[in-house]
Symmetry: C3
Subunit: 305 residues, 3 copies
C-alpha cells in the first residue's frame, strides 16, 4: 500500500487491493512461513465499542505473525472515563505499540487519530462510517469463489446504516462488477453513497424484492436488519420477514450462488442453509485472519521484508 494508515476502503486502488489479497493467498497457503515474522512487534487493540469477531480476528492475525497484542480493555475500565480525549489516549498508546487497530462510535475518529500519531492506524469501524479491513476480507472471499471481474452481486438488508455495505460497494467500483441493492424503501442506500457510485460509473440497480434478481446473482451479500431502527415492533417483523433466506427462497438461485454475511446474523438466514454449498459466511469470517495478517504485514513491514 502507498498509505501508512488504513482509514477507508475508498483510499484503496485496484492495485492496493490486489496486493493485499495476493499476500493473503500466500499466507493462507503456508501460514507457518509467517509465524515468527513480527516477533518484536506489538499491535494495540483499542475498541471503544463492543466487538467479538473483529477484535479476535485482529488478535489472531497479530499472534499468527508472531506479534504481541496489548488491549485497552473496555471503556469502563479505561482513562476515557476520567475525561481523557481520544487524541491524548492515542498519543500515549503510540508509545507502546507499533500499530493501532481502532474501533470507535464516532465517524471520522480513525482519520483524526491518524493525524496525531506516527504509527499505522487501522480503522476497525468508525460509527456509521467505514470498516475497510472487513471489505478486504469480503473481497478475498468473493475472489476465491468467483473472481472480482465479470461479477454480479446482490446486497440485501439494511443498506442505510450498514458501514460494511458502504465500504464494499465503493471498493467494488475498482472492478467490473454489477451491483444490485435489495432493501425496504426505508433502508435504501444513503443518497451520498448512491451519488458516489454513480459518479464512479458503477453499474448499479435498486430493488425492493429479491425474487426478480436472484437468478442472475453470483453472490448474495445479506446484512442484518436491526430491530432498533424501527419505532414499531410489528413493522420491524413484517419488513425483516421479507428479507429472510431459506431453502425455498433459493430454489431459483444459480447452483454456484455464494451467500455471504458479515455476521452476527439473527434470523436473516435459516440454519438449513448452513450445510449447503452456498453458505460461505463462516469461511468469510475465517478469511479475516489471513487478510488481516496481510494487512499488518503491509503496514508493519512492507512486502519486501
Amino acid at each position: 500500500m502507498r498509505q501508512d494508515h488504513l482509514i477507508t476502503a475508498t483510499q484503496l486502488s485496484r492495485a492496493d487491493i490486489e496486493a493485499v489479497l495476493d499476500r493473503a493467498r500466500t499466507i493462507d497457503d503456508s501460514p507457518s512461513t509467517f509465524a515468527d515474522r513480527y516477533s518484536e512487534s506489538v499491535l494495540a487493540l483499542c475498541f471503544f465499542e463492543p466487538s467479538t469477531r473483529t477484535k479476535m480476528s485482529f488478535e489472531t492475525a497479530a499472534k499468527r505473525l508472531g506479534a504481541d497484542t496489548i488491549d485497552m480493555g473496555s471503556i469502563e475500565s479505561s482513562s476515557v472515563k476520567k475525561g481523557e480525549s481520544l487524541a491524548d489516549t492515542a498519543r500515549v498508546i503510540e508509545g507502546y505499540a507499533d500499530a493501532i487497530a481502532l474501533r470507535h462510535p464516532s465517524e471520522g475518529s480513525a482519520k483524526m487519530v491518524s493525524e496525531f500519531v506516527d504509527v499505522p492506524v487501522i480503522n476497525a469501524g468508525d460509527g456509521a462510517g467505514q470498516h475497510p479491513s472487513q471489505t478486504l476480507l469480503d473481497l478475498y472471499t468473493i475472489r476465491e469463489r468467483h473472481g472480482l471481474d465479470d461479477l454480479t452481486i446482490g446486497v440485501m438488508g439494511d443498506l442505510k446504516y450498514g458501514r460494511t455495505v458502504h465500504s464494499l460497494s465503493a471498493a467494488l467500483t475498482n472492478f467490473d462488477a454489477t451491483q444490485h441493492f435489495i432493501s425496504p424503501e426505508s433502508l435504501r442506500l444513503p443518497r451520498s453513497v448512491r451519488f458516489d457510485l454513480h459518479e464512479s460509473g458503477a453499474r448499479v440497480r435498486e430493488h425492493t424484492e429479491l425474487e426478480g434478481v436472484l437468478p442472475e446473482l453470483d453472490v448474495l451479500y445479506v446484512t442484518r436488519i436491526q430491530r432498533e431502527r424501527f419505532p414499531d415492533e410489528n413493522e420491524y417483523r413484517s419488513v425483516a420477514g421479507q428479507y429472510q433466506i431459506d431453502a425455498e427462497t433459493l430454489s431459483s438461485a444459480r447452483e454456484d450462488l455464494t451467500i455471504m454475511h458479515p455476521l452476527p446474523r439473527v434470523d436473516e438466514i435459516a440454519p438449513e442453509i448452513d450445510e449447503t454449498d452456498h453458505a460461505r459466511y463462516f469461511e468469510q469470517a475465517h478469511n479475516g485472519v489471513p487478510v488481516r495478517m496481510a494487512l499488518l504485514d503491509a503496514l508493519l513491514g512492507g512486502t519486501d521484508r
Copy 2:
C-alpha cells in the same frame, strides 16, 4: 485420550486419566522442555460467566507451552448481546483458534458446541453440569499425596449444586476409593448422581456430620455453601457454621490428612489451617497449570509429538 474433546469427567477411563496425570507429572518435573512446543497454536478463551482461576489457569497453561491465547472478553463486550447463537459464535471462533475452552451457564452447552466445530472443545464448566479439567487437577493433587487407590475421601459442603463434586465422584469410580459425603440434608448429592455411583459399584456413604468419619479420611474435600441457596439468612448461618473447619475440628484427624477446596473459599476453612501441612488447596489450584498443559498437549498434538 481417545476423544477429540473434553466434555465430561465420565467420558474418561482410568487409562485416560492416568495418561494425563503422568504427562502432567513429566511437565511439572521439567517445564522448560515444553516451553516452545506449541508456538504456532492459539487457544480461544470463551468465558460466558465470570471466572478468575480457571481462565487464568488455562491462559497460563497455554502460554507456558509457547501457545497464544485469544479472549472473547466479557459477554457485555461481545456479539452475544446482538443476539448471535452460541453455535454461530463457536463456528466463527473455530476459524481463529486451534482449541476452545468454554464456560457457559447452560448445562450441555459444551457438548452442543463440540458438535458444530472441528477443533477440540474443553468444557470449562457448563452450569450445574460438569467441569472435567477441575477433576483432573483434583485427581492429580490426590495422587501426588496418597495415590488414587486404597483411598478414603470425604467430600463436604454443598453436594447438591457443586459441579466440581459431581465430576470428581464420578471419576473416582475408576479407582479403589471409598467416598464419604457429608452435607446438610437439604444439600445432599442429587438422586441421579447417587444412582450413577451406585450403578458403578462405588463404595459410598452419606453423613450429616463430619465428626464420626473424620478419623478415617485420607482426604477431606471441602466446598463452599452458597448463601443464595437459602431463603433465610439465619438458616444459612446455622447450616454453614456446622460445616466449617478450624484447628479444633481437626484434633481427631489423621496426621497426614489432606484438605482440599476448589476455591474460592469464604469461611469454610479458618485461616489458621493455611499454615498447616494439611492445607493443600493453594497447591491444588497451582496444579491446574501442569494438568491443563498436559490436557492441551493431549488435545492439540498427541503425546508423540
Copy 3:
C-alpha cells in the same frame, strides 16, 4: 535492587534508583537485545481498579522482554465477587505467574500481598498510597532532560490526594533538588508528607500561585484537580482555573522548562502547549516501557543475567 518487591518509592535508595534508570537507558538504546530475555516468564496483571496507561505499559514492558502476561480481568468478572479475600486471590495467582503487578483501592494492599506470596509484587497503585513505578519513570524523564541533581522542580495541582506526587517528592530527597509545591490551600500536601520531607532535610517551599516561582523552575509537574473533591461545582471551576497552563502562562518560564503530567489530563494544560518543546508528558508516558522493562529485569532475573 536489594528488595524482592517494589512497594513504595521510599524503600528505594539513590543507588537503587540509579541502577534501574541506567538499565532503562541501556534498554532504550537497544531494545532488541532484550527481546527474548524472559521468554519463559509470566507477569500477572491484577488491576482491581480501572487503568489504561499503567496496565498497558506493564503489558508492553513484559512483552517487549519476551515474557507473557495473564490478566485477572475486571473485578466484575472475577472471584472477588464471590467474596474471596485478596490474600487468597494472590496466593492462587502466585502459582501461575513469576511476578504480580497489583493495583488496588486499599492503601497498604500491595504490602499485605507481598507478605503472603513468594513471587515479586509490584505496587501499581494502592489507593491514596504509593505508585513507585510511576515515580521511576518520572525520575527517568527528569534525568534525561536535566539530570537529577541541581534541580529546581515545581509540583502543581492536587497535592493532597495525588499518590504520584507523594511518591515523587519522597524519591527526590535522595538527590540535590529544590521542591516547590503549588496548590490551593485546600489541596496542600498532607501534613505527614510535609513532615517526612522536612525530616529528610529536603529543600521545600509551598505556594498558592505559580507566577512568582515559575521563572526558577527546570521542571513543572502538573497534576489534575478532580471535580469530585469539591462539594460545589462553582468552587471547583474557580480553583481549577487558577492552575491551568497555557502559552501566556509560560511567557515568564525558562526556555528549557520541561512540563510533565502523569496523565490523563483534562484541561490543566492547553493543547497549544503540546507542540512546544516544553511538553514532555507523552514522552514521559512512553518512558514507562523501558523503565518497567528495567524494573521487571531487576525483579525477575537480577542485573547479571
